[in-house]
């Protein structure tokens, strides 16, 4: 993609673009960094919705869903390597309105996740303060400060931002491994007591297993964000599939270890509503060192995630502005730092509104719902991609096997997850769908008139079949 287009809205004579500085390790850090916080908070609401075993089943079902996502996304992204990830894919394969919606899915999934991370930082500070004997700490300054600090880092530059993420993500992942070895599951002295703590296998029956899929997504939600950096990666066809698959493997291991440790340490009724479950797990071991390690791990995981979320949401919003789907003012790149600075700044108050005013489980539900809508788009996108450009018409950096099986499995699992959200959070599902329907009508009947038609197709591909 002609990255120089990015300069379109910059009020300078020099044309500037996003920098191509990232390698596979940064892609891994972006994928795991956004998601690893899902092991530190939020996944455990799946325990609340269906019990401990239901959460484990949901963890693996969601793992299957995300494997399909990673397979499909790797093929399309290795061909459509442009900022905005799935947004750019939708623009070239389905059409402008779908692209507008996908852009919004990404913005809201990541902005709500960012808000959830900031809430967790505040909750962690409050928990630690209570343990130190300070009751009634005001969480709000910590929420505001974490969002402002990370927005500033993102404003200053992508390389420094993702290098920061790489370091703190690695720390947070190692902290989970250290906790696993510290509780010595193989030893008779281990504090893990699965048999005594999981006495009701399925408190809600099999309906609870379905319901748990709602928060099961939280174990991996956001891993597809790796594609957002496509325009800033040195070798997209190699680094994006490799980085995304490595992220999935890392997360599947971390998710299983997290479930095993937490379910063996605390009653499911507590785990199902805990704000910082891994930190609580460390508290239950009685080790001060582990408490510090997992406390810092929780803080780092939330910061790394919020950092990646700001990076991804701002790039999706930037792409919408650059293509005039939103006012072109947002499509500007900073002349010195070469970041989408206006988009970064604009999304800060939106994240703050939800972080300061909405409970964690509901912020997470909004994030999951936007993610889920994005995953439902992917199989539609993949089937259209193969139909419009069969394998022999354009070169792919990666071709996923067994098409259309992953697409069909993905759409079936998405259907199950809509039902899971409907169980317990149906009103939010309706509110979100209403939002996307109204905003789609607004785009089609009003905003689309400001969009230059042929500029929406920038890939050097032949004419699609059937058009």
């Amino acid at each position: 993609m002609a990255v120089a287009e990015a300069a379109g809205a910059v009020p300078h004579t020099e044309r500037v673009s996003l920098l191509r500085v990232l390698g596979p390790a940064h892609v891994w850090a972006l994928g795991v960094g956004i998601v690893l916080v899902g092991e530190y908070m939020g996944w455990n609401f799946a325990v609340g919705k269906g019990g401990a075993y239901a959460a484990l089943v949901a963890c693996w079902m969601a793992g299957l869903l995300y494997t399909c996502v990673a397979m499909i996304d790797s093929e399309v992204t290795s061909t459509v390597a442009a900022a905005g990830g799935q947004y750019a894919q939708a623009k070239h394969i389905v059409g402008p309105l779908m692209a507008f919606n996908v852009g919004l899915f990404l913005v809201f999934a990541y902005t709500m996740l960012e808000a959830g991370n900031a809430i967790t930082v505040g909750f962690l500070v409050d928990t630690v303060a209570k343990m130190a004997g300070h009751e009634g700490v005001d969480q709000r300054p910590f929420i505001v400060l974490s969002i402002m600090f990370l927005a500033w880092l993102n404003y200053r530059g992508v390389l420094a931002t993702l290098t920061f993420s790489l370091v703190i993500t690695a720390f947070a992942f190692v902290a989970i491994l250290v906790l696993f070895f510290a509780v010595q599951p193989w030893s008779a002295d281990s504090p893990l007591r699965h048999a005594e703590l999981i006495t009701k296998e399925l408190p809600y029956g099999w309906l609870g297993v379905l319901a748990a899929m709602h928060f099961g997504l939280w174990f991996y939600l956001g891993v597809e964000g790796t594609t957002q950096a496509a325009e800033e990666v040195r070798s997209p066809s190699r680094a994006l599939p490799y980085g995304t698959m490595a992220s999935m493997m890392t997360l599947a291991i971390a998710a299983t270890l997290t479930w095993y440790i937490c379910a063996g340490l605390m009653p499911w009724e507590y785990l199902g509503q805990a704000g910082v479950p891994l930190f609580d797990a460390a508290r239950l071991t009685g080790s001060t060192l582990l408490m510090w390690l997992l406390g810092i791990g929780t803080l780092f995981a939330t910061l790394a995630s919020a950092n990646g979320c700001i990076n991804d949401a701002s790039r999706a919003w930037f792409s919408l502005g650059r293509d005039h789907y939103l006012p072109a003012w947002f499509g500007a790149v900073h002349p010195k730092y070469r970041t989408p600075y206006r988009s970064i700044i604009f999304l800060v108050p939106v994240a703050m509104l939800f972080a300061l005013q909405v409970p964690l489980d509901q912020v997470i539900t909004f994030s999951i719902l936007s993610g889920l809508l994005g995953y439902t788009f992917m199989p539609i996108n993949m089937i259209m991609f193969r139909k419009k450009w069969p394998l022999d018409t354009i070169k792919r950096g990666y071709v996923h096997p067994m098409h259309p099986l992953p697409a069909l499995v993905l759409i079936a699992l998405c259907g199950l997850t809509y039902f899971a959200v409907f169980l317990g959070y149906g009103t939010q599902l309706i509110a979100m769908m209403t939002f996307y329907i109204v905003v789609s009508l607004w785009f089609h009947f009003w905003r689309y008139r400001f969009v230059k038609r042929s500029d929406q197709f920038t890939m050097p591909w032949p004419r699609p079949n059937g058009y």
């Binding site: 059409g95 005594e196 507590y270 939103l326 939800f354 169980l423 038609r453 004419r463």
Partner: protein
Amino acid sequence: MAKYIPPHQSKFGQVFDVLVVLALTVGALYIPLWLKMAGATKTPAPIENPTWEALGQNPTMVERWQALGYPDPASANELITARFDYSFDWLALAAMVALVVGYFVMVVRFSDKEYREVINEKFGEKR
């Protein structure tokens, strides 16, 4: 096909469009929560004069509750007895399915109409 030239949008028009998107976001997502119309359907059903046994907790569970800062059964009563209500109306489920499917059908159809304009302008009218 003649190249489509979009109309110029004034600064005021751009600001207005951003406000519309913001209003839709806050209106659809935040206001239902603010009015307490949405949220989890999980409700506690605390029992009277709770004991650990009556709450179905064995000695290991009790030890863990106490370590987590719940020294007595009364303090954990609400947490232990809270349950989701998964009863649902089939009509509401059918409405939810129609909403999600209808949304995707609408978006794909409108997108296709727009996409044909893009392709025709990019590659020329198909003969």
